[in-house]
Symmetry: C2
Subunit: 283 residues, 2 copies
């Protein structure tokens, strides 16, 4: 698949959007445009050669762009599409990078122009820091990418976005329905973030915590230093799934606690063995 001749716009040059813009250079599109409310960020991205044009004219950029990658917070993603509906190039493919899909897809599909094709996307990549200055295309290397196509999407466009993901470094592209995505991501992304915060907050007023931790605690709490504005928005929009998943997790935790307190060694080892086998499958 050839991306030469195509113009690609990235909306929101933060950690994820900035990393996209950097990675997209590898697939040699005609132009990589950047849209950001912060003119400073646009200037930096232009100076660094990450984007090809420093215009702040969103209308101009969208009218020229065959693919638009929106890397904004969930609500802002919907608002951006609504507010710029008339500007998108006819037949443009639009995708996003938000970590929650079902509601967003409904809101976007309710207002989208018939000729446009919005394909929900979730690059499972990131780091604790945010903003363009931390953007790095290496975060995509070997990571997973979920697409949440619906019946409205054209097959060739799903294929194009899948190809783009692999070419910019992702290892796997997996297709899920928006509902399936939200359920599974609650388990594989929202839960470990919540657990990281709960672990940190469990330390109470224990002194010298930084000198008393090993790799297990450091790793499990790495994402506790997260972008709290983004994560609050994500989690608050997903209360029902989160409630279900926390209940499941607490059952697992309670089973372990019970086996430890009752000194049920065989049961405890079986639970360890099950976790071991599942974890070994994850690289």
């Amino acid at each position: 698949m050839d991306f030469r001749g195509l113009n690609i716009a990235v909306v929101g040059l933060g950690l994820i959007g900035g990393s996209y813009a950097m990675a997209l250079r590898d697939i040699k599109p005609s132009n990589i445009f950047g849209i950001d409310h912060d003119h400073n960020t646009i200037s930096k991205a232009k100076e660094a050669g990450v984007i090809d044009n420093s215009t702040s004219d969103t209308d101009f950029i969208l009218k020229k762009s065959d693919i638009v990658i929106i890397a904004l917070y969930p609500k802002d993603t919907v608002d951006f599409i609504r507010n710029n509906l008339k500007s998108f190039k006819k037949g443009a493919i639009i995708t996003d990078a938000t970590g929650i899909k079902d509601n967003i897809l409904k809101e976007i599909n309710d207002c989208l122009r018939q000729d446009l094709d919005f394909i929900g996307g979730h690059p499972m990549a990131g780091k604790a820091e945010s903003g363009f200055s931390h953007a790095d295309k290496a975060i995509f290397q070997g990571a997973n990418y979920i697409l949440t196509p619906t019946e409205k999407n054209k097959k060739e466009n799903i294929s194009l976005i899948s190809n783009m993901a692999i070419k910019i470094g992702f290892s796997n592209v997996i297709l899920l329905s928006p509902e399936e995505h939200d359920k599974v991501i609650t388990l594989t992304s929202h839960l470990p973030h919540i657990v990281a915060v709960a672990l940190m907050n469990s330390t109470g007023d224990t002194k010298d915590i930084p000198k008393l931790v090993g790799g297990s605690f450091k790793d499990a709490t790495r994402v506790a230093a997260m972008n709290s504005n983004l994560w609050c928005e994500l989690l608050l929009s997903n209360g029902s799934n989160i409630s279900t998943v926390i209940d499941i997790f607490q059952e697992s935790l309670f089973a372990l606690k019970k086996a430890i307190i009752n000194k049920e060694e065989i049961i405890l080892k079986a639970m360890f063995e099950s976790a071991y086998m599942k974890r070994k499958e994850i690289i």
Copy 2:
């Protein structure tokens, strides 16, 4: 502090003991001896230049050793000291590497010869794999080391072991009572291990988990692929502390769940902010 002229024995050349033996070369002791029930491991360690002698004569080694580092499982650590009590060199300093301290200290101090000095030690380092073939002195670089001295220990010996730890790469040596150690380590080490297992076991029969996870899940579950024999022994000997700590963690988790379900954004952000500030202190 000078380690030249001293003989150091490492008992148990697994992941931790092997890494010790490798790291000890940097402080240039007269001899580094290795004791292991597996003759193959002794041969490999000798061939690799990690230890200086391939004798399997424990009595011979202990009689010559000024410092003995025992890197065995908790029960085996106590048994080794009991079974070799007569062999230790007069005035030898003995330390260990087990992740639980209160009971072990009591059992060892109940039987220890008066001239010997046992100082409980806990290097907060490791990795998922076990055994000499995975040993690597790099695991100690920048890690934390807890010593749990009692009134029985000589100050100069506590100082010597602290110095040794820093010289072989640890960043911090912190002194705690055995009881304090066990309480805090339940929080900073046992809990994240239990949480990792609970997270993995929460995935149930969800398909394609390896393709649906990002860094947060990978990091939080890394230690789920742990040495289950060692960890079962550790956790089963620490049921009371674990029960308390899991209760505290579940309270933190429940507070987050409540704020998310009730859409209490201000409360949720305050909990995130608290976790963020605490996590920023940990390198």
